[in-house]
Every structure is written in structure tokens, then in C-alpha cells.
Symmetry: C2
Subunit: 193 residues, 2 copies
Amino acid sequence: MTAEVNAGARERLLAAAVTAFSVKGFHGTTTRDIAAAAGMSPAALYVHHRSKEELLHLISREGHDRTLALCRAAVAASDDPVVQLTALVGDFVHHHAVNHVSARVVNYELAALAPDHRAEIDAVRHQIDGIVRDVVDRGVRAGVFTTPDPLMTAAALVSLGVDVARWYDEPGWPPAALADHYVELALRMVGAG
Amino acid sequence: MTAEVNAGARERLLAAAVTAFSVKGFHGTTTRDIAAAAGMSPAALYVHHRSKEELLHLISREGHDRTLALCRAAVAASDDPVVQLTALVGDFVHHHAVNHVSARVVNYELAALAPDHRAEIDAVRHQIDGIVRDVVDRGVRAGVFTTPDPLMTAAALVSLGVDVARWYDEPGWPPAALADHYVELALRMVGAG
DNA sequence: CGGGTGACTAAGCGCTTGCTTACTATCGCT
DNA sequence: AGCGATAGTAAGCAAGCGCTTAGTCACCCG
């Protein structure tokens, strides 16, 4: 009986941490907040996790890995830069809208990571930036994109996608509609079509 | 002698708070951090300010007022939506790049404000959003802009400008070059020219 | 010169923090 | 039945927190 209902206390603590960090920030959240939200005593957190920072690291790591995988998949589906950019921006924006609660932690709590964890995460972010830059670069070289500064344009594209996590709040726009519109904006930014 | 050198302890505390909040966040910064950075004892903070939250409120208020004034000035300079958008995005981005340290506090520490202060700041932000929305709307109505969703496009324009504060770090691009490029991107996003 | 005023600090108060310790309850296994 | 392992908690510790108190010092004006 308890085996099913009480299963995944570790994951429940993680989920509670995501929500709490998203609303109040890492330093604004106490271990007691997290434990209470997971329906447990403060000490229970340390049965399943080493520290509060480890929770943030876990959340950040998984979030970044998911985003990197999403970017790789979007680019792998075709060789055409237009198709690649469409998939990349569409999936990226859709993901950041749907998962804006966790994406907020992933993108805006980096400063709270321990130095070595921060370096590890920065490496993943660098790879994500590289994928976007590469699509823009190849589009320009192929003559299907036109932009005076591909690097700056790529930075703006990533920035536009990431920032969705900050301001997006469900009731307004459906994630799919937002993603579609952002694809259109991205194609214009790179001077396609 | 001391009249000149020691003048503006209040402002020195404010400046120290801006830097500290920007690097470590509001909750990650202690009143002792701020006082020490201003070269004073912890208690000195309370000679010049009521609380740590009041410091944040002051910083946030001044930052938002400056941004709102900047937006109004950019729009007031002309009646042509193309000229207005050029000035608006150019000045907005330039400001967020040059003042990225304070802009980080202004845009990313809103959750730490007291409820009434938060409401007051949100009202200013709403006005800023309104100015951008209005320029896009009038451009579309005048037939010089083309976009399937003016509201969503305006949201993206503000988002793009605000997010500069998050990622911008001097050594890379001169603020003026960044601003110029973002103007070009903005004009493409609204389908001008 | 004497007294009021404003800037500043040493010390510390009460509370909260992240985390630990010592313990109990429940389980699967032999 | 008895044992070890796992999951959980009540209580609390040391450190750090925002902020206050009580006082010192330099200064200005009569």
C-alpha cells in the first residue's frame, strides 16, 4: 500500500524545490519550505539529498541536458538551415513556455551554484549557444540568411528564447501559438524568405 | 575636508547595494556585505536607510523611472513609427547594456520587493510595455509595419531589450554596436522596409 | 566656551538558517 | 522469530541574519 503512495519521496522533494526556487529564488527558499511543500519534516530532505545546493545542481543539470538534447534533435532533423532554425526556435520557445517554472530556475539561479557546478553548467550552455550560432552561420554561408552580424543575431535568438521563461505566464498565449510567432520573428531576424 | 570626501554616504550605500544585489541577488546579499562595500559598519546602513528592502525599492524605483523616461523621450522625438521604433529600441538596448549591473537588479529582483512596492513597480512596467505596444500598433495601422500579431511582437521586442541586462558583459560588444544591430533586428521583426 | 546636532560604531538581541544527531517504525529476508 | 536496511522524525546546534541600542566623536552656533 505505502509502496505506491509514498514512492518517489526524492522526486517529490525535487519537484517542491523547483517550485519554491522558481517563486522565491534559491536564497529566498529555506530547506524547511521545500520539505513542507513535499509533506515531510525538514530532516527528510537530507535522507534523500546531500544539500540544498545539490538540489539546485540536480535541477539545473537536468534542465540544461533536456534543452541541449532538444536543440540537437531540432538540428538533426534536416540539413536545410531554414528548416533547422524553424525547428530550433519553435521547440526551444515551446519548451520554455510549457516548462517556464523550471526554466526560470534553470536560467536565473545560475549564480547560486557552487563554482564547480557552475562551470559544468556553463559548458552545457556554451554548447547550446554553439548550435544556434552554427545554424545561423551555415544559413548565411548558404546564402539563405542575410544578417550583418551572424554572431550577434545568434545571441539575440537565444536571448529571445530564454527570456520567455521570465515573463511567460499561461493564461495569455498557448505555447504553440507563441512558438509559431517566434519562428516567424526568427526567420525575419536572419533575413530568410 | 571631511565635508567633501565623506559626502554622500547614503549614495555610497546605495551604489554598494546595486553591485551586491546584481552579483549575489537580494536574498544572497547581507546588510553586512553592503555596509562593508561602502566602507562602513553594519549599523551605518540604518542611519541612512530604513531597511534592506527599502534599498531595493529605491534602486528599482529609480531604475524604472529612468527607463520609462527614456522610452517616452524616444517616442516623443517623432511621429513616424519607423523613427520612433529606431530610437526606442536603440536607446533601450544601449541603456540596458551600459547599465547592465543596475538593470540586472531592476529586472530580476522584482520578487523580493514588498507587495505594495511590487505593485507600484509593476505599474511603471505596464506603462513601458504600453509605449512599445503603441508604436507597433500605429506602425501596423499606418501600413509601414507588417506582423501577424502586433501584441506578441511588442512583447518580444521588450523581452529582447530587457534580456540584454542578463547576458551582456562589456568585453564583447560596444553598447552602440549592439544597439545598432538590435535596431536592425527590431525593424525586421515588425516587417519594416 | 557650552550645549545641541548629526554621523557613525561596538556590541548584541532575538530569530532563522542549513544541517546533524539520536532515535523510532516498517519493511524484506533467512 | 530475529536481523539488517531503509525511511522517516523530533530536537537541537552553531552560525549567520536583519535590525536595535546605547554610546562616542566631530562639528556648528550662541
